[in-house]
Structures are given as C-alpha cells and as structure tokens.
C-alpha cells in the first residue's frame, strides 16, 4: 500500500489524538492513585472539612494553606499539578486542641489543592481548592 499525502495526514492526526487521550488520564491519575491509596476507593463527602488557600498565588514557592476537619484523625494534602502530588500529612494526637493545621507549600503551576481527611469511623472527607500560580515553585 502506497502512503499518499492524505493518508499520512489522517494517520498523523489519529496517532496524535490517541497520544493526547492516553496522556491526560495518566497525568491526572497520579493524584487519584495517591488518594485511593488512603481511602481504598471509598466514597468521600464534602461536609465538615475546610481547606483555605489563596485564589491567586503570585509566588508558587510559598503558598499558605490551612486545613481544618473537626474530629479527623489525619489530614493529607495533595497538589494535583506537582511532579509528586503528595504535600504533607497531619496526624493528630490526643492533645491536639483542634484538627487544624496550617503550613506553606510549593505549587509548580495553576492547579487544584486537595485535602483528604480520615475520620475515626473509617469515612473520608475531601475538599479541593483551585489556586492560580503566577510563578511556579519547583525550579526548572
């Protein structure tokens, strides 16, 4: 079979489309995989967890975030657009005054920051905030 110009174009665009389709879910699943590793794929609820982060962060090197989930045993933070999505995990001990933690994190680009709280009864809470980043914070 001779490859005509038209056939080459069709073939080219088809393989490009396949590459994009395969590429996108693989990228998104890094965070999802990390979350499933905690929840085991269980349903998460939105109520009872607060994640505070700026809408726009001028400098991705230090983005202040605060997370609060009353009664939680631990809260894990993820940055979906970072090379490695895990950020930090807060484990609360018996003397924690409230299940609240604030820290400063690095964000590589505009992305969603996700918090997953583990409750003592085995359920999970999830909160997510989109942060716009002007200058990324992962070097390069």
């Amino acid at each position: 079979m001779a490859f005509t110009r038209r056939k080459m174009l069709i073939l080219g665009s088809a393989s490009f489309a396949t590459a994009t389709l395969v590429g996108l879910p693989a990228f998104a699943s890094l965070t999802d995989d990390a979350i499933i590793a905690i929840t085991g794929g269980a349903e998460t609820s939105d109520a009872g967890i607060t994640l505070t982060a700026p809408e726009i962060a001028e400098n991705g090197n230090t983005v202040p975030v605060e997370v609060s989930a009353p009664g939680a045993t631990s809260i894990a933070l993820f940055a979906s657009g970072n090379p490695t999505p895990s950020v930090a995990t807060f484990n609360f001990g018996p003397l924690a005054g409230s299940q609240t933690g604030a820290t400063r994190i690095r964000l590589a680009k505009t992305q969603d920051v996700v918090a997953i709280a583990t409750m003592p009864d085995g359920s999970f809470l999830r909160a997510s905030v989109t942060v716009k980043v002007t200058i990324g914070g992962c070097g390069g």
């Binding site: 230090t62 490695t84 895990s86 930090a88 018996p94 003397l95 924690a96 604030a102 820290t103 992962c138």
Partner: protein, 109 residues
C-alpha cells in the same frame, strides 16, 4: 547536616488548665526538593525535613509527614490542649538523619 538550621517556636508562657493554645513553629531549612538542577544540568539531590512531631509531656499533639512540596523554612501552625503544667517538645527529622529538637515550658496561670 544542613548548615544554619535553627528552630523557632512560639508558645504562650502561661495557660489556664485545659485551655487550647495556638502554636507556631518554623525551622530554617532549605528543603531541597530534588527537582532542581544546578548550572551544569545535574540534579541537586533531595534534602528535606521529612517529619515533624510536637508532643506535650510525652503525649502527641501533632505528627506531620512532610514531602518535597513543603516550602523552604517549613512553617506549621496548630492548636494544642494544655491539661497541666509541663513541656512541649518539638522534633524535626532531616533526610540525612539529623534530628533537631526544641523544648518550651508552659506554666498554669
């Protein structure tokens, strides 16, 4: 050991028994992420603080696992219950095995 590592912690000097207090902690550390490259294109190896623990008279208040995405000079703010007079101990664990410690005493007012 990373150089110039200095922990700084802010804890009230006195508290009422059972009071919930806010604690702020910061440690100077470059938190090299392992993502950056030097001028010759070689990756700078990761060197971060990977764990931070705060305890009061031996009982855990908070135990944080840190990844490379925590900023330079890791800062934490959290709340703790003070049931009696005693000491808060703060411990940071470095990737290279170093442990940095700080202690603050709280009296009951």
């Amino acid at each position: 050991m990373a150089e110039n590592v200095r922990p700084r912690v802010r804890v009230p000097k006195t508290a009422a028994a059972g009071e919930v207090i806010t604690i702020k902690s910061l440690i100077s550390h470059k938190m090299e992420s392992g993502q950056r490259k030097d001028g010759d294109g070689n990756v700078i190896p990761r060197s971060i603080i990977n764990r931070f623990v705060c305890a009061f008279n031996g009982e855990t208040v908070i135990d944080v696992t840190l990844e490379a995405a925590v900023s330079t000079n890791p800062f934490f703010e959290f709340e703790a219950v003070v049931p009696e007079a005693g000491d808060f101990s703060f411990t940071w664990y470095d990737d290279d095995g170093s442990v940095y410690e700080e202690t603050k005493s709280v009296a009951i007012a």
